[in-house]
């Protein structure tokens, strides 16, 4: 089943840590956002394979709720 990982906050993308095809385990960090000088890591909600990455390092002005990564678990 595909799991959508949505942005938990508006802000900028600091670092994307996964790519399409990569296997991830639940709790692995997928990407880190930056807002208010703070890093906001987003972790994999399940084990699986990354099938979509819709964000890039340095993306600015992203809206909360956007589907950033899709994992096929």
């Amino acid at each position: 089943m595909a799991e959508n990982v949505e942005l938990q906050t508006s802000g900028n993308m600091w670092k994307v840590l996964v790519e399409v095809g990569q296997k991830v385990s639940q709790g692995d960090e997928l990407f880190i956002m930056e807002v208010m000088k703070m890093e906001i890591p987003h972790a994999a909600p399940c084990d699986g394979t990354v099938t979509e990455v819709n964000v890039n390092d340095g993306d600015e002005g992203l809206d909360a709720g956007m589907v950033a990564v899709v994992i096929d678990g």
């Binding site: 938990q8 906050t9 508006s10 802000g11 208010m36 600015e60 002005g61 709720g65």
Partner: protein, 327 residues
């Protein structure tokens, strides 16, 4: 009392107008960045406009109320739910003992406010309950709230009523097109910037950096150019055109360090050695408090008298005249 289940991104206790009177000793006022929404939340639950409440930033908290009370949520829409049911913003809500308020990411605006009947009753420090994170004073142990903390609430002096609403015309209107018109007053160091520099500042689109917090809002935009005063000055001022011999800073100063302007906000520094060509008056702080990273700020120069007149209008909107009882 309120139990913190999830703290949110950086949720803190604030009161209005904050810790005034200690700027000369380096303590900023702190207080809510959008004091318009904050004051209205307090009015809804029957508190004084300045009573201590919670400022939620970007991601709201999850809180459990141990006693029946009345609360209000204003400001950014953080999709507040009580026991899983969405609740309205800008309206007082009855909460039963044991119910849970859950907030998530902000959809419109970025700072939400929670007022509780009676107000938060943490120990004041220098006459204010506002949290000043940098010094670790005020609020809950000087910092943002943490999971498992218990937030004390005072007994209300009047009976709080559910179903009180802020009339539409009295609510701040948040930008939905990612751009904000922000008022500024010239000075105190406007004579250090040349005419071309002033024109560029007023006509430019300034992008709000994600490296912005309650201390300062960093802006990205065009280059600044300076008058002779900035270039031909005594060595004690420092070598960069933006350097000046150390001076006091106004709250809201647009502080120019090299070529990077930083608006000094509620938790900002009281002095330093950079020029402040413009100052954002307090009437526009709510806009900055609700703007998201990468949104665009356009600056509009007004006089101090105009800023004071608008301040009076906002104060009048933050009064009982703006509240209706719906049931």
């Amino acid at each position: 009392m309120i139990e913190v289940i999830k703290p949110g991104l950086e949720t803190s206790v604030q009161d209005y107008p904050g810790r005034l009177g200690y700027w000369n000793q380096g303590f900023p006022p702190s207080g809510p960045m959008d004091s318009w929404s904050f004051r209205l939340a307090n009015l809804l639950v029957g508190n004084d406009v300045g009573a201590a409440g919670l400022e939620c930033q970007y991601i709201g908290p999850t809180l459990k109320f141990n006693e029946a009370t009345v609360i209000a949520v204003t400001g950014a829409d953080m999709q507040a739910k009580i026991d899983g049911e969405l609740v309205p913003l800008w309206e007082s809500i009855a909460v039963a003992a044991g119910q849970v308020l859950e907030m998530s990411f902000a959809k419109v605006g970025v700072r939400g406010y929670i007022a509780i009947a009676g107000g938060i009753a943490t120990e004041p420090w220098l006459n204010s309950r506002s949290t000043f994170h940098k010094a670790g004073v005020g609020g809950m142990e000087g910092h943002a709230i943490k999971a498992e903390q218990v937030i004390p609430v005072a007994a209300p002096t009047t009976t709080a009523v559910a179903g009180r609403k802020v009339i539409e015309a009295a609510r701040p209107v948040f930008s939905v097109d990612k751009s904000w018109q922000v008022e500024v007053c010239r000075g105190p160091n406007d004579d250090w910037i040349d005419e071309a520099g002033h024109q560029r500042f007023i006509n430019a689109e300034w992008k709000l950096s994600s490296k912005s917090d309650r201390t300062g809002f960093r802006l990205e935009g065009p280059e600044w150019t300076f008058t002779d005063k900035a270039h031909n000055k005594g060595p004690e001022h420092g070598s960069d055109p933006s350097n000046i011999i150390d001076q006091g800073y106004p709250i809201g100063a647009i502080n120019l360090g090299g070529q990077t302007p930083i608006i000094l906000m509620n938790d900002g520094p009281s002095m330093g050695g950079f020029i402040n060509p413009y100052t954002v008056p307090s009437i526009a702080f709510w806009k900055l408090g609700q703007a998201k990273p990468a949104e665009i700020l356009h600056f509009m120069v007004i006089s101090v008298a105009e800023a004071q007149a608008i301040r009076q209008q906002i104060n009048e909107l933050c009064s009982e005249k703006s509240i209706v009882e719906s049931r």
